[in-house]
């Protein structure tokens, strides 16, 4: 008898979600097999990369990460345009770090105005990310949904502590929510259920499992994402059949290994190359675990990962 390669029998399908509006809108999801298992199923939409834009000039970035954006650091609109026009961003991820109550603590109104300016300046879909403070995000993200009425932004991170306020805004003003749970598959599922009960349509929900950078807990994220895809695709777990987004760049670039200058850590090798490779390897790892959208920073890392996605697609 001839040898037959064992294949997995799938019973589920990841839901398709459309991000943004107009001709540059992006569809993600739709997979019927594990990541890159083209021999077993279908993956109609390739994973996408969103390029980060910050609403305030960063003061703690590695030189290598600052360099590509040094002329636009104080202007999120110009930054977003550069990301699209120069680096070919298919999506923009606007990080509203200036709203952090432990930092600049900018108001919800100010942040929402910035979000609207950025989203109006580019034709690609925009993800708007809060500071991660659940209470402040409830205010800020809620305001963003309202001010950017009908623009179909991706709004995150939505957590258990603020899902009602932000979720209600997303329903009323038609945005997609990114449900974020702390690297825990059971809590991820529970938040999806809660958002569904609230009335968020399935086509407006994606999942952020929370990610660690390479060497900083990425294996936990990997396991959660792997389990998520197993439940969604082989156990018909309808409440987990959503595309996955990984907000990874800030995790990679805050690590010692990505930030140390070449002269301060000669044994670590060239700082720029090191940071780019840390980001690329993190990205590829998360793609293999099932990510549909990656939030990335350095143009060269993005280029490397795009090439890899292309290579995989053409088998």
């Amino acid at each position: 008898m001839a040898f037959a390669i064992p294949t997995i029998s799938y019973t589920g399908k990841i839901k398709e979600v459309v991000l943004g509006k107009g001709p540059k809108a992006v569809t993600i999801g739709g997979e019927t097999s594990y990541p890159f298992h083209f021999f077993e199923g279908d993956a109609p939409h390739a994973p996408r990369i969103a390029i980060e834009v910050y609403d305030a000039a960063p003061d703690d970035w590695a030189d290598a990460a600052l360099e590509p954006y040094k002329d636009v650091l104080n202007d999120p609109v110009a930054w977003a345009k550069k990301a699209v026009e120069t680096y070919g961003a298919e999506l923009i991820a606007l990080q509203l770090v200036s709203t952090d109550p432990n930092g600049l603590n900018r108001s919800a109104e100010e942040a929402a105005a910035t979000a609207k300016k950025v989203a109006s300046a580019v034709d690609v879909p925009v993800l708007v990310w809060g500071s991660g403070s659940a209470d402040k995000d409830a205010e800020v993200l809620r305001k963003v949904t309202e001010v950017c009425d009908g623009m179909n932004l991706v709004i995150g991170p939505i957590v258990e502590g603020n899902y009602k306020q932000v979720g209600a805004g997303a329903i009323a003003y038609k945005h997609t929510v990114a449900a974020c749970s702390p690297i825990d598959i059971n809590l991820a599922k529970q938040l999806n259920i809660l958002l569904g009960n609230l009335g968020v349509p399935d086509g407006q929900l994606i999942v952020d499992p929370t990610t660690g950078g390479l060497g900083y807990g990425i294996e936990y994220t990997y396991s959660v994402m792997e389990r998520d895809r197993m439940a969604a695709l082989t156990q018909q777990d309808e409440r987990l059949q959503f595309p996955l987004i990984c907000n990874m760049a800030k995790e990679v670039w805050k690590t010692k290994e990505a930030k140390l200058k070449t002269e301060d850590a000669p044994t670590f090798g060239d700082a720029k190359k090191r940071g780019i490779l840390m980001e690329s390897v993190t990205a590829v790892t998360l793609l293999l675990a099932g990510a549909d959208v990656l939030v990335m920073r350095h143009p060269e890392a993005i280029k490397l990962v795009r090439e890899m996605i292309g290579d995989f697609k053409t088998k």
Binding site: N186, I193, L194, D237, L240
Partner: protein, 300 residues
């Protein structure tokens, strides 16, 4: 199913204080109440009992035996406290049981001789040198090792209560162990053929640890039916949980029949069932690992 009452525990505020003050009243009242509630054994849990564990166990055993004839589980990791309790224990309606021994050489070498010397039973946890076993086979290996060691020490099979260690279904790391323990219970039947008389026990309520309080009973009840199917002989439980007693006494054959069908892989359409039945079907699926746990599993 044999029930061991878990309530006499140093962690319970009132009981802990009474133990500290050597006040017999709350302890005896609880022992009497547990006896009336119909448990088969009373577990006396002293926790680690590092300081003065010996005199404390001696006093508690005497205090409890003044008011009840039920046999006792002596629950502490302090070997000296165990021995002090066994020394004064009187066999009225059954022998004392040491709770517990681990499948580790130092634990077995310290406690098997105690069981032999004082003619006591013992709970043998399937917790090996590498910690919690990862699957049914590793549990099987530990159980076989334990039984071989017990034989070397001359402990009769019926004095060993294998505890395969129940883990919570609510957390990602431990939920895979929930169905694997059921799988182990199927193997356990074979083990019993090799070592006739061997018994089994479990800390049942740990399975629902972390779930919302009002939803813990259905998880405990369902898991009890699942384990009982393959011969789980006993469980350490809340003595006053009458609802659970109904299940322990196998008085819900309608529900256990349904649970068994799910365990056997039958795809039951929950929409055709009444709410109560549907809830047990869903819970069985979660405990079998067919549905990933979430706090809202009954609503889906």
């Amino acid at each position: 199913m044999i029930r061991i009452g878990e309530n006499l525990n140093v962690m319970v505020k009132k009981i802990g204080a009474a133990m500290k003050d050597r006040d017999p009243k709350p302890i005896q009242e609880l022992a009497i109440a547990e006896t009336k509630a119909g448990v088969d054994y009373i577990d006396i849990n002293l926790g680690p009992a590092r300081k003065e564990g010996g005199p404390l166990m001696e006093w508690v055993v005497k205090t409890v035996q003044e008011v009840t004839d039920l046999p006792l589980y002596l629950d502490t990791i302090n070997t000296e406290a165990l021995e002090a309790g066994l020394k004064v224990y009187k066999n009225k309606k059954g022998r004392a049981v040491i709770n517990s021994i681990m499948a580790r050489p130092e634990s077995m070498e310290a406690k098997f001789p105690l069981a032999k010397k004082y003619d006591a039973g013992l709970v043998a946890l399937l917790w090996g040198p590498a910690g919690l076993p990862r699957d049914a086979s590793e549990r099987g290996v530990l159980a076989a090792e334990l039984m071989q060691k017990a034989m070397e020490f001359g402990i009769p099979n019926e004095d060993v209560w294998i505890d395969p260690i129940v883990t919570p279904v609510t957390s990602p790391q431990s939920q895979v162990q929930v169905p694997s323990l059921v799988e182990f219970m199927m193997m356990f039947n074979d083990l019993q053929e090799m070592t006739p008389g061997l018994r089994s026990t479990c800390g049942l309520s740990n399975v629902s640890n972390g779930a919302p309080d009002h939803l813990r009973p259905i998880i405990n009840q369902t898991y009890l039916m699942m384990l009982q199917r393959y011969g789980m002989a006993s469980a350490i439980v809340d003595a006053f949980d009458d609802e659970l007693k109904t299940f322990a006494d196998s008085k819900r054959p309608d529900l256990s029949a349904l649970v068994y069908r799910v365990m056997d892989g039958e795809d039951i359409d929950v929409k055709s069932l009444k709410k109560e039945q549907a809830d047990y079907v869903k819970t069985t699926k979660v405990l079998m690992g067919n549905i990933l746990y979430s706090d809202s599993w009954l609503e889906l």
